[in-house]
Amino acid sequence: MKEKIYKGIFAVLAFASLAFLMGIVIVLFKEALPIFQKVKIGEFIFGRYWYPTYSPAEFGILPLIMASVWVTFGAVLVCVPLGVGSALYLHELAGDKQRAIIKPLIEILASIPSVVYGFFGMVILTPFLQDLFHLPTGLCALNASLVLGLMAVPTVCSLADDALNYVPKSFREASFAVGANRWQTLTQVIIPAAGSGISTAIILGMSRAIGETMTVLMVSGGAAVIPHTFLEPVRPMTAAIAAEMGEAPMGGLHYHALFAIALILFLITFVFNIVAEMISRRFRIKLGLSG
């Protein structure tokens, strides 16, 4: 009897998160769908003009999507070399002592609140970029990319390091046993074996970057215009929601449009995570680990 009660309690706790997830999805859909009665989905997604408070208002989120794409792409260019590179260093070259110091330090990067990163971007990077490229404002896509990239480093590094650690020692030994050197072993055995695990790390890093809000709100510049270079101010999807939600009258079209952006963002990160999960499952099977 007692056992049944415990079992029940834990089952409720376990299913609670599932219930929350369902709840969030339902609310997202419910609040997002009304916009599509006024604006066609195609026009919403591919519309080039985002003027939600004009009359007549225009609800084209392509500038916001493109802003997210540019910023995320830039962040990947920053976090992949840094994250994967440091994982490779930690795994291959750092001794136990170095590893014991560096790994926690990289993980601390993850524990810094995003508003602090935003602050760093505003105060340090903004004037720097402004001077470097002679810009009217240093708040731009590049700034957001740099800061987001830095923020995603711990995610990428930590997951890539895990992927490398999953590669059985026996592969390394086998490679050394046929007379391969360290570099050959790393590039031809370890990295290919960990490859899909590393891709998972990169995708989850991207997912982290695309969903980040506070930082991009602070450093991306906020212009809802389709960007053509990294040096223009942009307004990624998350920043638009955060900045505008406070002003959008509840139940109005603008309000529903912001929910629709949130829904699309949710679907994007959802797909990223599913893809990452699928790749990582294949990876484990490939290495002969349990699925």
């Binding site: 592969f171 086998a174 490679s175 050394f176 046993a177 007379g179 031809q188």
Partner: protein
Amino acid sequence: MDSKVKIKAEGVNFFYARSQALKDINLDIYENQVTAIIGPSGCGKSTFIRLLNRMNELLPHTNITGRISLDGRDIFEDSVDAVQIRKRVGMVFQKPNPFPKSIFENISYGIKVNGIKDKTFIEEKVEASLKKAALWQEVRDRLSDSALKLSGGQQQRLCIARCLAVESEVILFDEPCASLDPISTAKIEELITELKKDYTIVIVTHNMQQAARVSDYTAFFLMGELIEFGRTQDIFTAPKDKRTEDYITGRFG
């Protein structure tokens, strides 16, 4: 009467951190003979053969004293490259460890890392190695399949083929049949007997029947010491040391 000494260990001591795993080992390994190393778990037999291709160097906090020579040259000399030693002294591990690559690539890998690029040469070499390892008939039609699809016994023969492709002179077998069924074991043993024509073979085994079946010489290790070494026949029929006799007759271990 004996053939030439291929590997000579003189006064070898080996330490993991502070604990001593091998004590003053002196052992000759003869060319084109099979030398079996037997002893209970933890006696240092695996540790010993992993010194012969400098594999233990991959572990941190280890230390070795004494001398091991291959064809008369100390393998631990500063001027000797561990990578070169491992090309000459191949190894087959306890658990089959093919790479997660195709059957073909598993064999060609060792050839390629040694700087050979000629495609026809590699193809011929892969075929010859698989034939020598008695695996060719079973895999000739599916060389591009993943090696992980093979059975355990086939994987182990693949690992042997991988070794043969590098043209090593010595092959170390570290309990190669520990995870195999009796039929696969028999095939590997047959192969070992076949291979000694061209290679010097050292095999670590738990299984005394196996040592008796495949080896010409046997070394008995106990708690990091070499207790007795001699012709397999002599060790199994007339051991000189009481401890060897006890082990062989199954009184412990």
